[in-house]
Symmetry: D2
Subunit: 137 residues, 4 copies
């Protein structure tokens, strides 16, 4: 599935991303890059720090886009499992996530990703497995 | 830290929970029970299904409350790692999360949790480690 | 696949199990129970404590047996991922592992397991996903 | 702790490594490289393929050496959790593991590692957290 930057801009308008502060910046060849500019809403319980679940959501969705970039249309993907480690408190206005397919075995993709703050400090790292699924119509 | 139901009602008013549709129902003795009534906002990309990251957020925060229920005031906790498995598509209006401390080794808590839909069908299961931290003042 | 206790005794004679000190005690209905009586060989680097990798091996193989107990003959299973947490130092002569299929989604089994010492103290807990595979002949 | 190649040769003589077929090749600056030349004993239940628990043991111990290489003497480390994904069947005579500390937060090390066969094919990838501990004397 080719995903142009115009497509991506449209996807980025979905209410989930807009509410949390997520945007996918780049997608292609089994990798993706996403951005979290956390809204005030998601900075709880610590002011100025996005909730760990929001960093996870950034990670999970950036991994999914890395997979989608390599699929034919009519297919989507679903997370089987994701293991996330939080390395440092997430302080700041911007968090960048990079993810990639490390290995593909049939319909199963083995993914890796990390989230860094604007100063390149690692705040989370993850690995996970996703399953490619055919979209029912 | 004793957490009365009045306390909990107040905590449940935070903007993150309200925006996603999370509420903590019960807390005590190293366990907690949370509820997700997903708002429309979080049901993306599949209408009627909360994003996997939102189920994760429910899991993570319910685990944190299980830990907090056993801590003295002046302490909080932080996720070191969390491993989540998605067993079935999350369809429905209500998802219940149950979490508990399975073992405590000094400042590290080893947690387990699961999320079920209103028909008791398992949609996610997780285990994780959390670290107790002293709150800076 | 029905696995009688005579079958199991034969399986338990394999060189891997005998060298490490593993024995499967019970298998059936999506669950299994295994035992590690660690040989001197595997108690390294700490005398009297089996290496964490050996506890993992006990966990992984006990999970596999839980799955095998429910499969027709001609099928086997392979670990996709396994997440293990070590809760306490493993001291003692005997470690019991209990595992079960928590959920099955088509060919994917979602598993849970734990290892306790002879005093019932938890030393490791795990969750993992396995895939059922058809045996090539 | 400085670990010379003579030290390493001695460590490699321990009965666990010799029985399984493990050897640590290089250690230093927060990373390590290990080798598994699986003995016949560990190739069960599939002839010619080391058991997944043995690949795990290689991963876990190589990560531990990566940490040890940066510690002062009198300290050791213990696995808190390790998440391993198996990407492809492990066929062959030699498997190389590379591991590194990705981030260190006080006493907790966040690790990453992978195992490849002699043709560089990825067979397992992992991440984990380890805790530095003071050795009791």
């Amino acid at each position: 599935m080719e995903i142009t930057s115009t497509d991506m801009e449209q996807f980025n308008e979905n209410p989930l991303y807009r509410t949390l502060g997520i945007r996918i910046l780049e997608v292609g060849k089994g990798s993706a890059r996403g951005l979290l500019e956390p809204t005030e809403i998601v900075c709880w319980p610590f002011p100025g720090q996005p909730h760990g679940g929001i960093l996870y959501t950034l990670m999970d969705t950036t991994m999914a886009w890395a997979i989608l970039s390599g699929l034919e249309s009519g297919y989507n993907c679903a997370t089987i499992h994701l293991d996330i480690q939080y390395t440092a408190p997430a302080k700041g206005k911007r968090f960048y996530c990079v993810s990639k397919t490390v290995f593909r075995a049939g319909r199963i993709h083995f993914m890796q990703g990390e989230v860094r703050d604007a100063e390149e400090r690692l705040v989370a790292m993850a690995q996970g497995t996703f399953r490619v699924i055919k979209i029912d119509r």
